[in-house]
Symmetry: C2
Subunit: 334 residues, 2 copies
């Protein structure tokens, strides 16, 4: 059997890797332009807001999170997988009320400011409360993609696919992120996110910080080499403009949380587009009207987190095994 994967983002590459492991002849077609993975911070946070009312999505997120340690280990190189966990933080009383809904659901005990600063000495004294979520880890998506590309050496072709009719393969996996809409007609919309990268001496922060700061959600993801990723705006816009307001809002929240960040170098201002869907759950499965085509797209904010399980489920489907979990994520469900 021959399989072509359209899209060499983190999802497409991981699917292709799992297909190859099954001995399937796979080719990855890609425009060469980096996708959302290049901007993404790589938080592995299965308890996000969007999954609240969707038990199937919650299960998918949690199962994929459980698969990350092995997935990272199998890649055989450092991909920045770090299990120090996440500190959830709230600055004001209103922020605490907002955050506490999620924390209660996660059954995480509230930490006092002194306990928080013991874990993370650089925190502002203004931080009112927080929790430690040991299961919310991080990975560096750029390193993951580099490792996957290495595994797929010789199987990636730079080619912009304008129509699936151009693709000569028995099975076509569309993992084209926001580009999936144009290729399949499925309702995938771009959700703009602006993300900054700072750089300083390693060690300023020890955990991922996921905070609500004066009503705004911000996260800080510290890498071992001193990089700190600051994200993210969430805008229902298609443009790729780094805006004065976006950069200001991210820096303002980050500095409120960790004043010592002021001295760090601002090394990157980037924009990515999350592939959103009507229910913001991914599209995983065959097209109703073209069974040659399998879709693995629409992961919205959870593309990195959902990479291991998506790769397993989609490679399995291409090989003939339909996991019951896929039923909830049928591309034709809308």
């Amino acid at each position: 059997m021959t399989v072509a994967v359209v899209g060499a983002g983190i999802i497409g590459l991981a699917v292709a890797w799992r297909l190859r492991e099954r001995g399937i002849d796979v080719t990855v077609l890609d425009s060469g332009e980096p996708g959302a993975w290049h901007v993404a911070a790589g938080m592995l946070a299965p308890a996000g807001e969007s999954a609240f009312e969707q038990s199937a999505l919650t299960r998918l997120l949690e199962e994929s999170n459980d698969r990350w340690p092995a997935f990272a280990a199998e890649l055989g190189v450092d991909v920045g997988f770090d299990d120090a966990g996440t500190l959830g933080l709230a600055l004001t009383a209103d922020d605490l009320a907002d955050a506490a809904r999620v924390w209660t659901r996660q059954k995480l005990p509230l930490l006092r400011p002194s306990e928080l600063r013991e874990r993370e000495p650089a925190l502002s004294p203004r931080v009112r409360a927080g929790v430690h979520a040991p299961a919310e880890r991080q990975v560096d998506p750029r390193k993951v993609v580099a490792a996957l590309r290495e595994r797929l050496a010789g199987r990636i072709v730079v080619k912009r696919v304008e129509s699936l009719s151009e693709v000569d393969a028995e099975t076509v996996v569309v993992a084209a992120g926001c580009g999936t809409a144009a290729l399949t007609g499925l309702p995938v919309r771009p959700v703009k996110g602006q993300v900054l990268r700072l750089r300083g001496e390693p060690g300023l922060l020890r955990h991922v910080l996921a905070a609500t700061v004066d009503g705004r959600h911000v996260y800080l993801v510290p890498r071992a080499d001193g990089e700190i990723v600051v994200g993210a705006t969430q805008e229902e816009r298609t443009d790729a403009t780094v805006t004065a307001g976006g950069v200001h809002d991210l820096l303002h929240a980050a500095l409120e949380l960790v004043p010592g960040l002021a001295e760090l170098e601002l090394t990157e201002t980037t924009v990515g587009h999350r592939p959103g869907t009507p229910d913001n759950a991914p599209l995983l499965g065959r097209l109703d009207d073209d069974s040659r085509v399998i879709v693995a797209a629409g992961h919205h904010r959870n593309g990195v987190l959902l990479t291991p399980i998506t790769a397993d489920l989609i490679a399995g489907l291409a090989a003939g095994f339909q996991d019951p979990l896929l039923e909830h994520f049928r591309p034709g469900r809308f």
Copy 2:
């Protein structure tokens, strides 16, 4: 006579241009790295704080400002010279008390918020008071340098001068900005400035805005093509790092002043170093211990403004005419 000018910044190029107009054989030597002019906004504001107690500097600034219209016209191309004037602005009562000292000295009548917004509709309703300074204009330093380079085609040599002994000319003009210290031993220190550039539709702002915002000085310089320059931090540091705190502070003040800037693209984050001196007045004249060498450096925040008069005075000095005004700016005065 042969003259070598060390430094192809805005000062060195303008001096060389004036020398050529006198028929002098001039060569400009430059490392090829852009200097402070590349970062500078190009405000022509002779009433700055630093001149308060220095009547000779005040006179130099005002005379140079008077020479700018002709200097720009002589260049024969568009260099962004714009005489809409500057709105001086104050956000809070404390800001007003601070700014009013300068405005009173300039004898500028205070404008009410409604009058300010009539002139500049995009201003925040929070702006408390302001003035219109019609004599404070702007020019685009990048365009000025491009025009001067055009005028000096064939006379500019890319060569990093490490010692003046390498320079073979009867007269050497050192216009090397912060690099002047190493070449001459004179007390020129770098004063770091971070500057941002935004871009949007032309017309959002009509004037240069020079404001005090919660105790912080910020200026917005709108170009005809929709670019808005936002400056500047003033840091006694030598590094060239764009910092999270610097960018935040500039954006924060700019957005407080003109909320509509939030939608604009952030196109550049840059760092320059103003060549400061012990009294922050320039060094203009011959070295006491080497009469072959004329210095034209140390212009601190006023390099662009002082370009026309510096070029006239230094070219004249090289040709044998010592203007009495130069006495106040002797390089050996410290």
